[in-house]
C-alpha cells in the first residue's frame, strides 16, 4: 500500500536523508532501497525521486557528484552538514508526531507496515 501524496511530501525527503545517512548512494540505489526497506510503502518513481533530490540539493542538504565505478558513470548523492542537522531535527519531530498519533490510537498496531520512517535506517 502506497502512502498518500500529502503524507509522502513530508515523509519522502526525510526517508531519503535517512538513507543517505550511512553513505552516498545514486538514484537507482535510492529507489531500490526505499522500495525494499519500506516494503513498497515509500516506493517512488524517477519522476518523484529526482525532483526531490534536486530540491534537497538546492537547499544544501545533500550534494551530488558524478563518479565512475565499475565502468559506469553515476551521480552519487551524500549528506551535507546541513543535511545531517535537518535529518536530526526532522527525525525528532517525526517521533513526536508518531507518539502524538499513537496517543490518539493511530498507527499503534504492530503489523507488516512500519509505523515510523525512522525505522528505515535501522533496518539496514
Amino acid at each position: 500500500m502506497k502512502v498518500e501524496s500529502e503524507l509522502m511530501r513530508g515523509a519522502g525527503p526525510l526517508a531519503v536523508l535517512k538513507l543517505l545517512e550511512r553513505g552516498e548512494m545514486y538514484g537507482y540505489e535510492l529507489v531500490e532501497a526505499l522500495a525494499a526497506r519500506t516494503e513498497g510503502v515509500l516506493a517512488m518513481g524517477q519522476s518523484t525521486l529526482y525532483p526531490m533530490l534536486y530540491n534537497l540539493e538546492a537547499k544544501g542538504l545533500i550534494k551530488a557528484a558524478w563518479r565512475e565505478e565499475g565502468g559506469r558513470e553515476r551521480k552519487y548523492y551524500s549528506l551535507t552538514g546541513a543535511g545531517k542537522k535537518r535529518l536530526s531535527s526532522d527525525t525528532a519531530q517525526w517521533e513526536r508526531l508518531s507518539r502524538a498519533m499513537a496517543a490518539l490510537g493511530v498507527g499503534v498496531h504492530a503489523g507488516s507496515e512500519p509505523a515510523r520512517v525512522g525505522m528505515i535506517g535501522g533496518g539496514a
Partner: protein
C-alpha cells in the same frame, strides 16, 4: 562538466562518430576557446551512449526536452535518467515495467525543471527576479495605458458650464441704448454696401495727403465720400455709448459678413471656422470676431481718405469727427472681454494719434484750440482693460470639453482635446499619452499660468521675473507641457508690450496736444512741457520701458516737439531713434511723437 565524455570516443572506447558540425554546435564556447570540440551538450548523443531501448530513450529525451532547462542542465538530467534506466535494465527490469515505474513524463519534466532552477546561482535568481519585476512593471504600464487609452477613446466629457452665455449675460447687463455695437453695425454695413473704397491701403497706391489737387483720383474719392457720408455720420453716433456691447458668437452675422466682403473683397474669417448653425453651448475658442476686420478697414478709410479729403477741403469738423470716430472705436474695443479686441483697440488708437499728428503737420492751423482739447479728452479716455478673465475662462472651457469629470474636480483626457486643432502641425497636436496629466493638474496649470500672466500684464512683474515664474510650465523646447495651455496661452509678453507702447503713444499724443495748445497761447513751446500744462494733463506721462517708471522724455529741436521713450534697453540715447551702425543690436530710443508711419 565533470565526468563529461571525451570528444572523440565513447566511455566504451568507441570512436565518436558524430560529424564536426554536430560536435561544434553542441560544444560550449568555453571548450571551443580551449581548443576542445567536446560536443558534450548533445543530449541525444549522451542518452544514446547508454544503449537504451528505443521507447525508453525516447521517454528520457522527451522528459529532458520538456524541462526547457539550460543545455548543460538538460545533459546532466539526461545522463542521470539514462543511467537510472540502464541500472534498472541491468537489474532485470523489463522495459514496460521501467517506463510505467517512471511516472508521468510531463509531471516529471515540470518538477525537474522547478527543482533544477532552484539550484541555479543567486546572481541568476536575482536577474530573473529583476526581469520578473520589470515584466510586472511593464504589465502594469500596459494595463494603465490600456485603461487610459479606453478613456481617451470612449470617455466623454461633461460640459456643465456655458461660458459663452455667461460672458454674453454680462454684456447684456449694459442697457441696449448704451451699447455701441448696434450703431457700428449699421454704419459698417452701410459702408460695406458701397463696395471697395478707392484706396485700400496698399503701398503702391497714391498718398492723398500729397496728391495734387488736379489728380483724377480726387473725383472718385469725392464720389465715394459723398456716398459714405451717412455711414460716417452714423459712426459718430456711437461715441456717446458707454460700452461696445458686442455679443460674442461662433458664426458671422450674415450682414456683417456681406459688409466685410464688400469692403475687403474677402470673408472676415476663413470659411472653415464658420459654424453651420449656432450651437446652444459652443466652445469659447470657437468665438469669431469678424467685426475687427471691418473696424480696422473703416479706421483706414477714415485715416487715408476721409481726413486727407477733409483737410484738403479745410473742413475741420469733418477731421474732428473722423478722428473722434476712430478714438471711439478704440475706446470701445479696449473695453471688450477678449484680448484680441483690446489689442486691435490699441492699434486703432495709435492710428488715430497718427492721423491727428499728420493733420497738425499738414494743416497746422486747421484744428482750433477747442477741437484739440476735445480730441485730447477723447484720447485720454481710451483705457485698456488688462484683464485676462476671458482667456482664463477659455482655458477652463477647453478643460471641461476635453476631460472627463469624476465629480471631484478631476478626470482624464479624451480624444476631444485633439479635436480643438490647436496646431497646424500634426506633430504638435495633443494626442493620446498614457502619462498625460489629469484634469485637476491641467486646470491648476491653466489657472496658475493666467494668474502669473495677469500679474505680468498689469506690470507687477518684469519680463525676466515672468519668464522665471513660468519656467516649470515649459518643456525643454520652451513649449507648454500642459496640453491645454499649449493651445490657449496668449503671448502675454507681446500683449503687454503692445499695451505699454499703445498707452505711451496715447500719452505722448496728449502731451503733444497740450504743448501745441500752450504754443498757440504763448507763441512757443514751454521750456518744461510737463510742468507748464498741468491744466491739460492729469500728470506726467510715464515711460513704461523704464524700471522704475520715469516720465517720457520731451525735447524741442528746431521748433519740432519730440516725445520719446528710452526704448527696450531702458537707456536714454538722447533721442536717437535709429542706430547709425547697422550692425548694432542695441535698441535705440522709441519715438512716440511725431508718430512713426
Amino acid at each position: 562538466m565533470k565526468g563529461a565524455p571525451a570528444a572523440s570516443t565513447t566511455p566504451d572506447g568507441c570512436v565518436d562518430a558524430r560529424g564536426l558540425g554536430r560536435r561544434l554546435s553542441n560544444t560550449p564556447v568555453r571548450d571551443v576557446l580551449r581548443g576542445r570540440i567536446t560536443g558534450r551538450l548533445d543530449t541525444e548523443w549522451v542518452v544514446g551512449r547508454e544503449g537504451l531501448p528505443a521507447r525508453t530513450e525516447a521517454l528520457v529525451l522527451e522528459v529532458v526536452r520538456r524541462t526547457r532547462l539550460w543545455r548543460g542542465e538538460q545533459v546532466d538530467v539526461a545522463r542521470e535518467l539514462a543511467a537510472h534506466f540502464r541500472d534498472a535494465f541491468n537489474a532485470g527490469s523489463g522495459e514496460m515495467e521501467a517506463i510505467e515505474g517512471f511516472g508521468d513524463a510531463a509531471t516529471a519534466a515540470k518538477l525537474i525543471r522547478r527543482a533544477t532552477r532552484r539550484k541555479r546561482p543567486l546572481a541568476w535568481k536575482i536577474w530573473v527576479r529583476a526581469w520578473a519585476c520589470l515584466g510586472l512593471v511593464l504589465l502594469a504600464a500596459a494595463a494603465w495605458t490600456g485603461w487610459r487609452a479606453a478613456w481617451y477613446s470612449w470617455g466623454e466629457p461633461t460640459i456643465s458650464r456655458n461660458y459663452l452665455a455667461e460672458l454674453n449675460a454680462e454684456i447684456l447687463k449694459t442697457p441696449e441704448g448704451e451699447r455701441a455695437w448696434p450703431v457700428y453695425r449699421e454704419a459698417l454695413i452701410a459702408l460695406g454696401n458701397l463696395g471697395a473704397p478707392p484706396l485700400t491701403g496698399r503701398t503702391e497706391e497714391p498718398d492723398l495727403w500729397t496728391l495734387a489737387d488736379e489728380h483724377p483720383l480726387w473725383i472718385s474719392v469725392g464720389q465715394y465720400l459723398a456716398a459714405a457720408e451717412p455711414a460716417f455720420e452714423r459712426l459718430s453716433l456711437a461715441e456717446s455709448k458707454s460700452d461696445m456691447g458686442y455679443l460674442m458668437r461662433t458664426g458671422t452675422d450674415p450682414l456683417v459678413g456681406a459688409a466685410t466682403e464688400g469692403l475687403l473683397g474677402r470673408a472676415a474669417v476663413p470659411e472653415e471656422f464658420e459654424s453651420a448653425e449656432q450651437e446652444e453651448n459652443p466652445a469659447l475658442v470657437g468665438v469669431l470676431l469678424p467685426h475687427l476686420s471691418l473696424m480696422r478697414m473703416t479706421t483706414n478709410i477714415l485715416s487715408d481718405i476721409e481726413v486727407p479729403a477733409a483737410v484738403r477741403a479745410g473742413d475741420a469738423p469733418r477731421v474732428e469727427r473722423a478722428v473722434s470716430a476712430q478714438l471711439s472705436m478704440a475706446r470701445h474695443l479696449c473695453g471688450c472681454p477678449t484680448l484680441i479686441d483690446r489689442l486691435v483697440g490699441v492699434s486703432l488708437c495709435a492710428r488715430a494719434a497718427g492721423t491727428l499728428n499728420r493733420t497738425l503737420a499738414e494743416a497746422p492751423g486747421l484744428l482750433d484750440e477747442s477741437s484739440l482739447v476735445r480730441l485730447a479728452h477723447r484720447l485720454s479716455i481710451v483705457r485698456v482693460d488688462r484683464s485676462l478673465r476671458m482667456e482664463r475662462l477659455m482655458g477652463q472651457d477647453v478643460v471641461q470639453r476635453a476631460y472627463t469629470d469624476d465629480g471631484n474636480g478631476d478626470g482624464v483626457v479624451t480624444r476631444r482635446l485633439a479635436a480643438f486643432g490647436f496646431s497646424d502641425d500634426p506633430k504638435n497636436q495633443p494626442g493620446f499619452s498614457p502619462m498625460a496629466p489629469g484634469r485637476r493638474e491641467v486646470q491648476d496649470g491653466v489657472d496658475r499660468y493666467y494668474r502669473l500672466a495677469q500679474e505680468h500684464l498689469l506690470g507687477a512683474t518684469n519680463k525676466t521675473e515672468f519668464k522665471r515664474q513660468i519656467r516649470d510650465l515649459l518643456d525643454a523646447r520652451g513649449r507648454f507641457r500642459n496640453p491645454v495651455l499649449g493651445g490657449v496661452a496668449v503671448s502675454v509678453e507681446r500683449a503687454r508690450e503692445s499695451f505699454d507702447r499703445g498707452e505711451m503713444l496715447r500719452d505722448a499724443a496728449l502731451l503733444a496736444i497740450g504743448a501745441e495748445v500752450y504754443r498757440r497761447r504763448h507763441g512757443a513751446y514751454p521750456d518744461d512741457v510737463r510742468a507748464s500744462i498741468p491744466d491739460l494733463l492729469p500728470g506726467a506721462p510715464a515711460d513704461r520701458l523704464r524700471d522704475p517708471p520715469a516720465p517720457l522724455r520731451v525735447v524741442v529741436c528746431d521748433g519740432v516737439l519730440t516725445v520719446y521713450s528710452v526704448g527696450d534697453d531702458g537707456i536714454d540715447d538722447g533721442g536717437v531713434f535709429r542706430s547709425v551702425d547697422p550692425r548694432s543690436t542695441k535698441p535705440p530710443d522709441l519715438r512716440l511723437w511725431p508718430v512713426a508711419d
